[in-house]
Amino acid sequence: MIRLLKQREVMLLAIIAIIVALVTTRSAGFGRPGNLTAIFNDTAVLMMLACGQLVVILTRSIDLSLASNLALTGMIAAMVNAAMPGIPVEVLILGCIVVGGLLGMFNGLLVWKLNIPPIVVTLGTLTIYRGTVFLVSGGTWVNAVEMSDRFKSFTRAEFLSLPMLSWIAILVIALFALMMLRTPLGRAFYATGINPTAATYAGIDVGKTKFIAFTLAGMVAGLAGYLWVSRYVIASVDVARGLELQVVAACVIGGVSIAGGIGTVGGAVLGALFLGVINNALPVIGVSPFWQMAISGAAIITAVIFNARGERRGGRIILKTAEAG
């Protein structure tokens, strides 16, 4: 299994590399390490969210509220910072993770305790969380002047010529990868998605596992809320609108099965990176920005077709075993 999935990731990585190479022939600056790290940094939030969405999708759920969660947590962080600049950023980040986690828990509780389909729950909280941003902010923005310097500079501070934002993303990705591969919880996400009945029989509480998945995704979204606001130094109602579907698209492109149980952290991250590279490449090669949407749509469809092929392969073949035997 590991072999097959790795193949898919290598393929995706190759496609990304080819795109970068092609674009570089058109615009030499694109392939520079500096620009590549910039793209990575630019995609950091999407990659983190894709990790969060991955665990949710693995358990046969979906979280459409991640972008709204991000916006709400980001707004709260910005407002707290504006009101009390004395609070250290580290504490604020922890607070964001907690708030985001609570919002995720709310989704998870409805899914776990009331057994409401995740898509319904998060369709509801998608609008509720986004509306709450308006309620807490009264519709106004939090601007650069109102934010403390540390609040703004934290994500930009460079270490080994990579900004903190990228390092945080790398840390989150690494933690998710470790969790998925080496902890019982990570395996429980897979088990729940592949066969919930069997998971129950194996002693896994399926509802609780989903709840944990939503909580984790919410925590990531909360963290991303601060990172987003700090990076773009603006908090408004419209922050990250429409990002929820991009996160799902990243997972799909990365080979995560929407039916649950199939997908890797590497795939989700590469899916996000693919979208990031496309987004960054189009303006550079001078393709009209109006084509962006159509191209990413075509990319998603291609990826789905490709993935379905991969999933369908395998299985037993009676005649072949007969010939081999």
Binding site: L110, L123, V252, S257, F290, V304
Partner: protein, 334 residues
Amino acid sequence: MTDAAETTHRHIPDRLDNPIKSAVLSWETLLVLVAVVIFILNSLASPYFLNAWSLSDLTFNFTEKAVIALAMALLITSGEIDLSVAAIIALASTLMGMAVQWGVPTPGLVAIGIGVGLACGAFNGALVTGLKLPSIVVTIGTMSLFRGISYAILGDRAYGGYPSDFSFVGQGYVWWVISFELVLFVFAAVLFWFALHRTNFGRQIFAIGNNAVAAQFSGVRVARIKFVLFCLTGLMSGIAAVMLTARLGSTRPSIAQGWELEVITMVVLGGVNILGGAGSITGVVLAALIMGLVTFGLGLLNVPGIVMSIFIGGLLITVIALPILYRMWRERRA
């Protein structure tokens, strides 16, 4: 088990429950109650609500979305979903606008709108049933693709100059305050109700939604029916595109942005099981009415649109959660 030894066959009754009682305890009853309560609250909260023209304007808030919701209800009942409906509107409207520039008259425009909708639906259907792909991701993809094509064609421009008789479709009144759109919707609702609840086609949709494999093994042409349902959803989106374009008299690529989620909310609020297999058109019509009442009522109180969306989101979760909580509470007592 004395009767087990008997050789005569034992009689199995048709049904045990009382149909009237189960109708009273149904989802639709809950929705009717919610609608009535909101109607009363609206009348109390705003002096402007109980007015024929207000109520007529109210219908414009939901008719186009509800027209799509009718088809979406069938599609979701069959276990699939289409997130690209709003993007289909954008593409259909764009191509209609393009046709206007070539001087195509109103009947031609209507045909183009509906035709494009149908073609987009067929494209979705072919991907889902032909290549056996999950509809939610396929339509996330086509959602970007269709609207993306619209952006690519129109860019920063807008199409206008629709013929004046075209506007009747979206703005005309058939009689007094009864708009053409409303009549169209009611007509479509009756058709869809009949199709889902009274025909073989509808029965097969329920069978597919509950267990597509077993339905296939029972001789139901699953792929064909699903394909038809995607086409139907595209077709209704095309009709909605005609209605909306005629109402706006202008086309921009951002037209109907975000409608897919509102349509799905309508369908789910209407009691259609998002996982497939259960649903009713009556519920969807009531849900459309409720959403219209809520948004219009809050609008009369000048509640900001985004706060309204909190109400809609909350309503969705509450209405779904209430029966579950009630059942849990009853089981705990028993």
